[in-house]
């Protein structure tokens, strides 16, 4: 039963990883930009929620109503003001720019908030759980996290599949110069993609902050998990990212069950194993660029 418990907790943890990973995948898919500051931006969102909570004493979940739009605005401005300028010089300039941004965010947070660990208060839901059997209880917070992840991914999938903005995002991802010929301002579309990306990672950051403690330098570790979730699931597949997050989550909780020291290691090992067995991930995008 302990193993079942570990697996269930891992599945729920996967929801959090998916929230943290989706934006990374989206931005890579649309503009081939690897955002090395993605994890730090999630942490930044958590700190922003912290500021709101200290000012208002509200519930952490309510802070999402402000944090998400704010981070979307940050994403739009960041892309239009800085990152768009780096995209034309090949793969290296955006990597360097986002790496630099990560350093700036980490040290900025350190200066303002010190290195102390912080947590977000979401009230009773943090500890409330549903007892299924004597040995199996699932927390409402992880359930909520996974539910939110599914809703966010489903919403994003609908947006991409059914709306003109979604078609334009996919068209720009396919071929940005050709998209310009359709009257699409690719720089605006890139900024919209980054806004969506930071909106999703803001949700992930706040849920992370409710679930566990966080500090100014926690971003890179989150980035690695996010990367692994994206790669396991297959680049460009939203639901794949959810499955990737779940695989990673289960690997970690099962590893933890074997020995608490193996938790992180087990996740990385499963990631490496999948890279060897299926380098394109579990759900590679069905349609590739036409020859």
């Amino acid at each position: 039963m302990e193993w079942v418990n570990a697996a269930v907790q891992g599945i729920l943890l996967g929801g959090l990883y998916a929230l943290l990973a989706t934006g990374l995948s989206l931005v890579f898919g649309v503009m081939r930009l690897v955002n090395l500051a993605h994890g730090d931006l999630g942490i930044l969102a958590a700190f922003f929620a912290l500021v709101i909570l200290e000012a208002t004493r509200a519930n952490a979940l309510l802070s999402l109503a402000i944090v998400v739009p704010f981070m979307m605005l940050v994403g739009y401005v960041l892309q239009r003001g800085v990152l768009n300028r780096t995209l034309e010089g090949g793969v290296l300039p955006p990597l360097l720019a986002t790496f630099g941004l990560a350093v700036v965010i980490q040290n900025g947070l350190l200066t303002v908030f010190t290195a102390d660990s912080q947590g977000l208060d979401a009230g009773a839901i943090e500890t409330a759980s549903l007892r299924l059997t004597d040995q199996l209880a699932i927390g409402w917070l992880p359930v909520l996290t996974l539910t939110v992840a599914i809703v966010v991914l489903g919403g994003l999938q609908l947006l991409l599949d059914r709306t003109q903005l979604g078609r334009v995002l996919r068209a720009t991802a396919d071929d940005a110069p050709a998209a310009r010929l359709m009257g699409i301002n690719d720089r605006h579309i890139f900024a919209v993609a980054m806004a969506i990306s930071l909106g999703t990672v803001a949700i992930g950051g706040v849920f992370l902050g409710i679930r566990t403690t966080f500090g100014p330098f926690d971003g890179p570790a989150r980035l690695i998990f996010a990367f692994e979730a994206v790669i396991i699931g297959g680049l460009g597949s939203l639901w794949g990212t959810l499955v990737g997050g779940i695989v990673l989550g289960v690997a970690q909780t099962v590893g933890n069950q074997i020995d608490p020291a193996y938790q992180i290691l087990a996740g990385h090992l499963v990631f490496l194993a999948i890279l060897v067995i299926r380098p394109t991930g579990l759900f590679p995008r069905a349609v590739s660029r036409a020859a």
Binding site: R170, D175, P177, M182, S288, A290
Partner: protein, 248 residues
């Protein structure tokens, strides 16, 4: 060969104001100069074909007009207004659409989605998905198929249809026939009269001289980045065109 050139002459006999005026445009790729002081005018409703060998600068000229490549000198005017400060994506709204070389359909979108994206900044006009399907019946029953799995000819039809969805006043066609079966090329060119009937001005680039002569009101020849000849198909002799095409 300059004796054959009829530079900057009136676009058509009616003397209508040109919808497109390319005025001494040069273009550079680094140190390489692709266009040298190219000037031409296209009247509203006219079809002008630009022929020339590989590397003559035909595609570059279309890219300059569409805004994908900056003019390194000179000016492009559309409907009397300079396009110097108008970004490529804004030119669509003004009524310029380019069907790019190699078709460049969006592979991860379906046929219908490609058409819908083509209407992103559409002007009002007659071209709708239904009208495009009527023009190219081959697209009609493939609406939900991925554009990536279409044949080359179908993709070209889609690329043209996608450009029409913006209801352009000026349609730029870059090498429609490239790499396609002659029968398919004929079918595609058969659509031009209907496009023209909507009042659309067409500037097309072709390596295939015969196809260009059949389709166009006037033909300009581009040789190593310079206009070497302009005239009506009926007024030009084979020898003149060959000379202007190959520079011999």
């Amino acid at each position: 060969m300059s004796g054959l050139a009829e530079r900057a002459g009136p676009a058509v006999a009616t003397g209508a104001a040109p919808i497109l005026a390319v005025d001494r445009v040069s273009s550079f790729y680094g140190d390489f100069q692709a266009l040298f002081d190219v000037s031409l005018e296209v009247a509203e409703g006219e079809t002008l074909a630009i022929v020339g060998a590989n590397g003559a600068g035909k595609s570059t000229l279309l890219k300059v007009i569409a805004g994908l490549v900056p003019a390194g000198g000179g000016e492009v005017r559309f409907d009397g207004a300079s396009l110097a400060r108008v970004a490529a994506h804004e030119r669509v709204r003004r009524g310029i659409s380019l069907v790019p070389e190699g078709r460049r359909v969006f592979p991860s979108l379906s046929v219908d989605e490609n058409l819908r994206v083509g209407a992103y900044r559409a002007r009002p006009g007659r071209w709708t998905i239904a009208a495009v399907r009527e023009l190219f019946p081959v697209l009609a029953d493939r609406g939900r198929r991925s554009a990536a799995v279409l044949s080359g000819g179908e993709q070209q039809a889609l690329a043209i249809g996608r450009a029409l969805m913006a209801n352009p006043r000026l349609l730029l066609l870059d090498e429609v026939s490239l790499g396609l079966d002659p029968i398919v090329v004929k079918q595609l060119y058969a659509a031009l009269p209907q496009i023209r009937a909507a009042g659309t001005t067409i500037l097309l680039v072709e390596q295939n001289i015969d196809q260009a002569l059949t389709a166009a009101d006037r033909v300009s020849c581009l040789l190593e980045g310079r206009i070497s000849l302009t005239g009506r198909p009926a007024d030009l002799t084979r020898e003149q065109i060959t000379a202007a095409y190959f520079g011999v």
